[in-house]
Symmetry: C2
Subunit: 99 residues, 2 copies
DNA sequence: AGCATAGGCAAGTAAACACTTGCATGTCAA
DNA sequence: TTGACATGCAAGTGTTTACTTGCCTATGCT
């Protein structure tokens, strides 16, 4: 099974995708239409449904969101665990991590 | 003076730039020519000098590397502190970070 | 069944990006 | 000063990427 990790770095490169993650941080488990509405109102975005849908695909391929189907609804939940790899790849220099 | 924070997310989106950060993590304070050589040998990259130079500009604009001029040499040092903003923007979910 | 809602697929377009090419500037040693 | 070394600048090219457009499938309600 090829997991196709995608690329969390490329996924984070787009400001619209970062706004999606922001919104899911505030209110997790949203549908595509919910996200469209809330992104438009609260984040000032004017992206179409298809644009958001494609962004969600990229975020899911990167493992940053999970999808859960229920009937005709599809809920999206954020998953921040892949972000740890970033801080671990380039750890803080200077040794001590405490004050 | 306009600091032009750049975009750390866009800066991290390119695999060559990530390799540059990897290399600077191993050996900090390298010149452009040093980086070209070590990236080619140790990371299997075949990027031209100009390509690396442009990548260094992007990384510097994002605040991920610092530059220090000495005579005709220009040394590059890594700065991982902007990476903290990523983990802080989307903190781990589940509330407590302890058991 | 009939219709509205929620979402999916795929081709096409315009802008952003990485990279090249060619020449110019500045520093150091002889 | 001459020449070699280290880097800078800028226009041009090909690919990637975000977005649109148009149509299609599936679920749920009456």
């Amino acid at each position: 099974m090829l997991l196709a990790v995608g690329d969390i770095y490329k996924a984070l490169a787009d400001p619209t995708r970062r706004a999606i993650l922001d919104e899911l941080c505030e209110r997790d488990r949203q549908t595509l239409f919910e996200l469209c509405g809330r992104l438009a109102v609260k984040h000032g975005l004017s992206s179409s449904r298809q644009a958001i849908s494609q962004h969600l695909d990229v975020l899911a391929a990167a493992g940053l969101i999970g999808v859960e189907r229920e009937g005709r609804y599809k809920f999206h939940t954020i998953d921040t665990s892949p972000l740890r790899a970033i801080a671990e790849r380039w750890p803080p220099r200077g040794g001590g991590d405490g004050p």
